[in-house]
Symmetry: C2
Subunit: 204 residues, 2 copies
């Protein structure tokens, strides 16, 4: 495919993003896509054999970007700072979008788990990889003495993902920052040990 073809393909993926993120993959129609991308039906089908191919490619690229972000986008010298950074940047991301669209992976999990195996399988891999990456950070933070050690790093990673997804859900529903912010602050209180390295350990 030439440069112009690549550019059209990329434009279709970019312009379809808002539809996929707000309406979901199933409810986004071919007509919605033609309207949002401005390409002809012939051009759309030249680049993607069907709507699901476009949707799956969008999901694949979004998951790559998300994994790169976890690998390279987190700030901090210690693992605890990196986890803290992840929580802060997640809130910033959703606040910056006015809590519209939510988490693409959470949306797709609930939309497709029982009905669209190709989407569900790709989403399941995203969640497993997300958990693995967070568990690695949390294991280091546990070694640093900065994170609750009563559960395995993998269990805590799954818990962190649950809290974020449930917080995003409530903020997206009510279109207010408060639920996601509260869920993250409550999670911090329960997860992080204040003053790691000092004699004081978590106690209430």
């Amino acid at each position: 495919m030439g440069f112009k073809g690549e550019k059209t393909r990329k434009k279709i993926l970019d312009d379809a993003a808002h539809l996929f993120r707000t309406k979901g993959f199933g409810a986004t129609s071919i007509n919605d896509l033609l309207e949002a991308t401005g390409v002809t039906k012939g051009s759309l089908y030249f680049h993607f054999p069907g709507k699901d191919d476009l949707g799956l490619e969008y999901l694949r690229q979004a998951s790559e970007r998300f994994m790169d972000f976890i690998d390279e986008g987190l700030e901090g010298d210690t693992a605890a700072q990196k986890l803290d950074s992840f929580l802060r940047l997640a809130l910033d991301y959703h606040r910056g979008r006015g809590f519209v669209g939510g988490c693409l992976f959470g949306n797709t999990a609930l939309e497709t788990s029982d009905t669209a195996p190709a989407f569900a399988q790709m989403t399941a891999e995203v969640f497993l990889e997300w958990k693995r990456k967070l568990a690695a950070i949390i294991a280091h933070a546990q070694d640093e003495g900065a994170i609750h050690q009563g559960r395995t790093a993998e269990s805590l990673a799954e818990f962190v993902i649950a809290v974020l997804e449930g917080g995003i859900m409530q903020s997206r529903l009510h279109k207010t920052e408060e639920p996601m912010n509260n869920c993250i602050e409550t999670l911090r209180l329960m997860l992080f040990i204040p003053n790691p390295g000092s004699d004081q350990r978590r106690s209430h």
Copy 2:
């Protein structure tokens, strides 16, 4: 409406349940509904002017049943036992359905928050009422000294809902009990104070 009419109306709502819970409201077509309910198109439209009317009525009745369950279905003499019972019964419910369908209200939150105001508004009211009811139980459990007191009862209720929804999401996606079970066990560890009333308070 006579007895037979009431019976048909109830049958439509009952038979539509699996579709709404697995596919969502938007992706369930009139043809899906005719096939699942076995009624004629004329009968369907006699009872419900449109698909959304049927969907909203199903959502309204499901939310009433859920609120009744919280008011009357929880076991235990103390508030902490009632909260514990809620967590246990939630896991039992989803395990009993093989993690198919998930939480109707979480599904509907993510499906409709940005695109279907009538559904989103009804779902927002369900989440607020759910939070109020849990917060009342948690406030009592805090008074009993059985629950973490570092956050308000309302904040903890929102957090409990987030953990459950995020746990259900991951169990529904992977079709295994482990994520929801782990999220609930981790929540218990972080929320409940062992041996309330004794000298021992939470410490690790």
